[in-house]
């Protein structure tokens, strides 16, 4: 037991830890009970005994689920109440944080996200309990074992001084940092006034919604796997089909959505310059999704023809294994040098822990599969070459190979040491990983797009009717014509991309035609067509925005660096993609004249500065202003403990393209230039004072103080001047410098107008002629500048629409398959 020190609340920690252990034990007991239920399944006269075990299993799992939910709530309580005696609360949250970001804190750390994962799986498991189904016992054995193993990640037990099992979020700060002298004091807590805070990059709504959706997707992949194991356990291969298929559809939709939410986040808030960078963390989630989709299709084949059962099993097992592998890659720090996403440093115990857990899953899967391999039903003879099932199988295999290639490159840090031992060469990721992935994956994209359109028109067993071929032929011709238009219009040069454009257009129109013509627009059957259509749109968005993406902020003014080499010269000159803009001046970018208008600060922890960047587009001939908009990319200046800036982009969304910009560097906001000082100006009410790029009007002097920084005081007489500031665009703001008299002491308070870089104060008041002497200081323009990067993403809207449509398609399929059939 911990001795309770001053101000500590130890109960939540004890409760939370107890609940995790309870969750772990109850999961084990669930597995145990259901295991005995399985043993008694089907045995004559043993139904009542079987039922007893089943009910015990259900009860145990309900206790497990409640424990997890309660542990989750306890951790949230600790974070929300800022109990900084707990390491987790201290590390990931702070008092100044807005309430909506408290959940972001929750999943910022490894333990919190494991807990989220466990929570989803527990909730999904409960669904299984309340729907009567014959496979309940077997599936629940698998589910509860996995839950138990997941709980071990949260235990935080020590076996001896060196071996740690799991990591608990309920540990105390003073236990984790025992060497810090402050913890020798019993009143240490009074010194810890605030937590470490949430990384500013994570202070946005994406961090609230992306992890829950993603981890729900992770949790869903457990169930097709569990159903496969349930089927092979007793060699019953009929009843598992429908539930496995529905779980796979739900998983495909939600995991896919979760992955692309990460992409949307990267696009909107971070500075990867896009939505997908083939970053290891992105790839590690994409790979199980591709394999899940492959398994889903071969399961449909099995359902319709009795073929491809074994490969379906392999797909669903691989999906589940790769989900855990993605956890392994991202959390153990093994990717360290190759990913901007590496979430934690190398934690040795986590490395071995996860390896053992993955090994267990592999062992269970191999045991069951090998044991039943020969017993799984097979259809004699092989598929016809013009049958649906043949080509669906080919398509699924393509998906598998695509994902294996991706994960192989992504895992380079894992196998590089082995490669080094064999060849002696210490390889590193390529100079341009994006090209490497794109150049290979485009071929898979071409094939998959083509198949996702064409296969719809094939029939199971054999497609003899010439009608199908005629349809395909017509579609191909129409697609070809449209492709020629697109390639010419977008000036797509590389041949693989032209092919890609063709197959994308083909699948888009093929699926629409199939839905309307062949399926007669029946929504119930529309799932596949809608999903494929959405997929096609997504690929179209990828192609157009990726190929057409270009940086428009090209630095024309800097010194040209002297490079002797051809290839790198291009490269390096193109890296000059940041442009400096002084306040109230403009630079040309593409069709636009881009002006930096000024900045404004918003109170937050840490403070956020918004920079107003105006884009004007004029008709090249008449010089008429065609359009004008202002983007406000923002920056956290000097976030806690950091130097420099943490920028977030802003974008203007059109139907046909996005203009995307962010601040890459700023002038020092506190810099004092020798040339700017307070210059006196005498003015009467209504007078105008001219400054650089604008003017200020002295509206009136009033004792009603509008200056927010002023604290009223009984013994002080205060007045403030209302100063309205204008530029050629109109009024830009108002300043309220204050003048105060206390006894015989006079003082003043300056007010600032950042958009003009002005600081205004009242030097003297002359009551005789009702004039005021102001001191006005304006930051020299040379001191106030930003360095921006701006890009155009053509047709990126098509990508987002495609994702939503694809998700809807998954839901339609999932929903259409409910009920007994």
């Amino acid at each position: 037991m911990n001795q309770q020190l001053a101000g500590e609340h130890l109960f939540p920690g004890y409760l939370g830890q107890f609940l995790i252990i309870l969750g772990f034990v109850s999961a084990l007991f669930t597995a145990y009970s259901y295991f005995f239920a399985v043993k008694l399944e089907g045995k004559a006269g043993q139904e009542s005994a079987e039922n007893i075990w089943k009910r015990m299993g259900r009860g145990a799992f309900i206790i497990h689920a409640i424990s997890i939910v309660a542990a989750f709530s306890t951790l949230y309580y600790i974070i929300a109440n800022h109990l900084f005696e707990y390491h987790y609360a201290w590390r990931h949250s702070s008092k100044g944080l807005q309430v909506k970001y408290l959940f972001s804190c929750f999943w910022e750390g490894s333990e919190g996200s494991f807990m989220l994962w466990a929570l989803w799986q527990a909730v999904l498991g409960l669904f299984l309990l309340f729907k009567p189904n014959a496979l309940e016992s077997r599936v629940m054995v698998i589910v509860s074992i996995v839950q138990a193993l997941l709980c071990t990640m949260l235990l935080g037990f020590y076996l001896g001084p060196d071996i740690k099992i799991g990591s608990t979020p309920f540990t105390l700060l003073r236990h984790e940092m025992q060497d810090a002298p402050i913890f020798q004091r019993p009143d240490y807590l009074s010194f810890i006034t605030d937590g470490n805070g949430l990384n500013p990059l994570l202070q946005n709504y994406w961090m609230v919604i992306h992890p829950p959706v993603l981890f729900l997707g992770f949790a869903l992949t457990l169930f097709p796997f569990a159903y496969c194991m349930a089927a092979v356990w007793k060699n019953e291969y009929k009843i598992f089909i429908k539930p496995a298929l529905r779980w796979a559809l739900a998983g495909g939709g939600i995991l896919g959505l979760g992955i692309m939410m990460g992409g949307a986040w990267a696009y909107e808030s971070l500075n990867f310059g896009g939505y997908w960078a083939w970053d290891p963390v992105e790839n590690a989630s994409l790979v199980p999704w591709l394999i899940l989709v492959a398994g889903l299709h071969t399961l449909v084949v099995y359902k319709s023809t009795g073929r491809s059962l074994r490969i379906t099993m392999i797909f669903f097992v691989l999906t589940f294994l790769f989900i855990w592998y993605s956890t392994f890659l991202t959390r153990t720090g093994i990717l360290g040098d190759t990913s901007v996403h590496a979430f934690t440093g190398a934690a040795n115990f986590l490395y071995w822990h996860l390896l053992i857990v993955m090994g267990s899953y592999l062992a269970i899967s191999l045991f069951f599969l090998i044991r039943s391999w020969k017993k799984m039903p097979k259809i004699a003879g092989e598929e016809e070459a013009d049958s649906r099932e043949f080509w669906m199988l080919i398509g699924s295999v393509f998906l598998l190979i695509s994902s294996l290639i991706i994960i192989m490159y992504t895992s380079l840090p894992v196998w590089a040491p082995l490669y080094n031992k064999i060849t002696g060469s210490n390889i590193a990721p390529p100079e341009d990983p994006v090209s490497l992935y794109n150049n290979i994956q485009v071929w898979f994209g071409i094939i998959i797009a083509l198949l996702s359109g064409a296969i719809q028109f094939l029939k199971y067993k054999k497609t003899s009717a010439s009608k199908a071929w005629k349809q395909l032929g017509t579609l191909a011709v129409v697609a070809l014509l449209l492709t020629i238009g697109l390639v010419w219009g977008q000036q797509i040069r590389p041949v693989p991309l032209m092919l890609f454009a063709f197959t994308i257009i083909f699948t888009v129109i093929a699926n629409i035609v199939y839905l309307i013509n062949n399926q007669k627009g029946k929504v119930k059957k529309a799932g596949a067509s809608v999903t494929h259509f959405g997929f096609g749109l997504m690929l179209l968005g990828v192609l157009l925005s990726g190929y057409g993406k270009r940086v428009i902020s090209l630095d024309q003014s800097g010194k040209v660096m002297d490079y002797g080499l051809e290839t790198f010269e291009e490269n390096a000159r193109e890296s000059r993609e940041n442009v400096l803009i002084f306040r109230n001046t403009y630079v040309p970018m593409d069709k636009y004249l881009v002006t930096y208008l000024g900045d404004s600060v918003v109170n937050n922890d840490p403070p956020i500065t918004y920079y107003k960047i105006k884009f004007d587009r004029h008709d090249p001939e008449t010089n008429q202003l065609l359009e004008s908009f202002v983007l406000t990319p923002d920056v956290f200046v000097n976030p806690k403990g950091q130097e420099g800036i943490s920028p977030n982009p802003d974008a203007k969304h059109y139907l046909t393209h996005d203009i995307f910009t962010y601040i890459s560097s700023i002038s020092d906001p506190e810099s004092k230039s020798d040339t700017s000082s307070f210059i006196p100006h005498v003015a009467k009410k209504g007078d105008t004072i001219f400054v650089s790029n604008g003017y200020v009007v002295f509206d009136e002097l009033t004792s009603q103080i509008s200056n927010k920084n002023y604290q009223p005081d009984e013994s002080t007489i205060a007045v403030n001047a209302v100063m309205s500031a204008y530029t050629i665009d109109g009024k830009v703001g108002t300043a309220f410098p204050v003048y105060m008299i206390r006894g015989n002491q006079v003082s003043n308070m300056t007010d600032t107008l950042r958009s003009l870089g002005l600081m205004i104060s009242i030097n003297k008041i002359n009551p005789q002629d009702e004039s005021i002497e102001f001191g006005i200081r304006q930051r020299a323009q040379q001191d106030d500048y930003v360095v921006v990067k701006a890009m155009i993403f053509p047709y990126i809207g098509v990508l987002w629409i495609g994702i939503l449509v694809m998700f809807i398609g998954f839901i339609i399929s999932w929903y259409a398959r409910r009920g007994t059939r």
Binding site: R91, M177, A180, P181, I182, S190, F191, I192, T193, D194, N196, G336, D337, T344, G345, E382, E383, A385, F390, I394, V397, F398, L404, I405, L412, N426, I427, A428, P429, P430, E431, L436, I440, D555, G558, K559, M561, Y563, G564, L565, F568, N571, A572, S575, R576, E577, N578, V579, L580, G641, Q642, E643, G644, I645, S646, S664, S665, S667, Y785, V787
Partner: protein, 134 residues
Amino acid sequence: MKKAHIILIVLIAAAMAVIISSFSQFSTYETFASAAEKEGKSFVIIGKLDMDHEMEYNPLEDANRFVFYAKDNNDKTNRVIFSGTKPTDFERSEQLVMTGYMKGDDFICSKIQMKCPSKYENDQIVVGNEQQMN
């Protein structure tokens, strides 16, 4: 043999051929010395920021030129010219992974990946208005 299996084998063979041929695109981790031997070829060098030398970033002159000194794993310090802006928190980076090539005495760098001390690993606690302790 089944048609499907034949296609499978062909696919796998093709994939392997593609992958092995792509190995030539991989970089290798080098040091300044070994990169200097193969001047002009692109490599990845792991190093640390050398704070003994001054860094230069003057966006008023050139927004895309950032000069600093880095020390590689053989403790050799070299001048690095990066064609971009000065990254956030550069001074606090624990490790730099730089991709580029040697030209003359300088390492011309096109990409930097920094390993920053995660706030999570930082042993500093900011304690009210009192002293900071390690």
